[in-house]
């Protein structure tokens, strides 16, 4: 274990841990709302849009985040707009958008480099490659997500629990849904570097699902999801360090084990 703590003195390691903790926190908090509102597919779809945006940025020689943030935010608004219209159009839109974005991303990568060597790092993350600028930008965006979430906490509960009552009592539900979309888009872009576009949605879904099994209150679920997410990240990061495994996939596997334990504990409790 000492080896792991010693490694933390290297800039690439502490940058990875700082960004990882912040992203895990943002993803877990938003995950609670997305899981309860059954919007979890949005995270997955946006990850793939993020992949295409990153591929485009690299091809054009621009900063990936500068291209990905506006494109993914736009895509999230489009998906929210289509979901609002009801019926299956939201799901269909996400499906079409995700697969199209993935294909476009692969094509751009292939055309711009003449090979697909770098595709896996976009798809499955490369947290140790973060620069100082990446770290500060991630910290600033995480701060925006966390502050907005904290300020809107009670509204988010009302909208998650009973949208009709919230609307009936004059709350501008549509506005808050777009705020949720915006925050999700920012979180997805933040998390892509660490988890990759394929795995970022797991960081949103797993901690919330596990926390839901453990708590009776919304506030409890939010706190539990945050702890589970940060804990899962640290354990996954350490596991990937010791066993020389990909970080994103290791974190997902740790999250999966925690969900399994929570489900088993719930079963035993019911008996």
């Amino acid at each position: 274990m000492n080896e792991f703590f010693e490694a933390l003195s290297y800039p690439f390691m502490y940058r990875a841990v700082i960004v990882g903790v912040l992203v895990s926190l943002c993803a877990a908090l938003l995950g609670v709302v997305l899981v309860l509102k059954r919007y979890t597919l949005i995270g997955h779809g946006l990850g793939e849009v993020g992949f295409a945006a990153t591929a485009l940025a690299v091809a054009l020689g621009l900063s990936p985040m500068a291209v990905a943030v506006p494109l993914v935010v736009l895509a999230s608004f489009l998906v929210m707009y289509l979901s609002q219209r009801g019926g299956a159009s939201g799901d269909v839109a996400i499906g079409v958008m995700a697969t199209s974005a993935l294909s476009v991303g692969v094509l751009i990568t292939s055309l711009s480099r003449g090979s697909n060597v770098d595709v896996t790092s976009y798809m499955f993350g490369s947290i140790l490659g973060l620069t100082n600028a990446d770290m500060w930008l991630s910290a600033a965006l995480s701060a925006v997500v966390l502050v907005l979430y904290f300020l809107l906490f009670n509204r988010l509960f009302s909208i998650s629990y009973d949208e009709t009552f919230a609307r009936a009592t004059g709350i501008n539900v549509t506005l808050y849904q777009f705020v949720i979309s915006f925050l999700t888009a920012v979180t997805v872009v933040l998390g892509m570097r660490m988890m990759g576009s394929m795995l970022i949605s797991s960081l949103i879904i797993f901690p919330a699902l596990t926390a839901r099994r453990l708590t009776a209150s919304f506030r409890g679920m939010v706190v539990a999801a945050a702890l589970i997410s940060v804990g899962g990240f640290l354990v996954g990061m350490a596991a990937s360090f010791f066993a020389n495994l990909p970080t994103g996939a290791s974190i997902v596997c740790v999250d999966l084990v925690m969900l399994g334990i929570a489900l088993a504990a719930e079963r035993l409790k019911k008996r």
Binding site: F153, S158, F165, T169, R212, A216, S217, R219
Partner: protein
């Protein structure tokens, strides 16, 4: 005509048509709701009661005519038909009742001491304070509806709109709930618009009756409704 406390107008509907995707469900509805009144909305399933209530609450726009809620939506509260609460939804009774105190125009997004006090009083009034910390999904249907009623009154409304609030409850709990509505109306000086199929309640509690059948079939006092229509809406 007995219409309660005074004649102050709470809400005016002027020749209103409402519906979905351009197709009207209720047409040309006009009525005035006065302060302190209990207006019962009756009619067969599909006659447009819920659509009218959605229109009044601003959940769907009017296709025609004007809806004027004079007291403003902040003074309106709402109790819907009981829906299958997701048993796993992580929300305690206290969280749900407190959420009723949220208002649209407020700058501070957090609950004030007054909000907490209002929620506490609402839970005590409906005798659900003993399980304030329990998850909503662990309660019986009747208890869940009491929680949602506590949420509705925690915002200290002047106008309470109820949409078939007892439709999925057993007869004993239904009777209890209707007694509760009477008690709340009296104690909190509420104006009530309630859609219901319970004619016994209408006969006993309504000041006026509005019968819908995609348009207004009848509007008048409960006494007139019973005399002219035998107290039973056309099915």
């Amino acid at each position: 005509m007995e219409i309660g406390l005074d004649n102050q107008v709470m809400m005016v509907l002027d020749n209103v048509s409402l519906g979905y995707e351009g197709r009207p469900v209720v047409e040309n509805v006009s009525f005035t709701l006065r302060r302190g009144e209990n207006l019962c909305l009756v009619g067969a399933n599909g006659s447009g009661k819920s659509t009218l209530i959605k229109g009044v609450l601003g959940l769907i726009p009017a296709q025609k005519g004007a809806i004027d809620v004079k007291c403003g939506l902040d003074k309106v509260s709402y109790l819907a038909q009981i829906h299958a609460v997701d048993r796993d939804f992580p929300a305690t009774v206290r969280e749900i009742v407190l959420s009723g105190t949220q208002r649209s125009g407020r700058r501070l997004p957090f609950y004030s001491r007054r909000d907490r006090e209002q929620a506490r009083k609402a839970m005590a009034r409906l005798k659900i304070d003993a399980f304030a910390g329990r998850r909503i999904g662990q309660l019986s249907g009747g208890q869940q509806q009491r929680v949602l009623l506590a949420r509705a009154i925690a915002r200290e409304p002047e106008l309470l709109i109820l949409d078939e609030p007892c439709s999925a409850l057993d007869p004993e709990i239904t009777a209890e709930m209707y007694d509760l509505f009477d008690q709340l109306k009296r104690e909190l000086k509420l104006t009530m618009l309630i859609s219901t199929h319970d004619w016994a309640y209408v006969r006993r509690a309504a000041d006026r009756v509005l019968e819908l059948g995609s348009r207004v079939e009848f509007i008048g006092t409960a006494q007139e409704w019973m005399e002219t229509r035998g107290g039973a809406p056309r099915e």
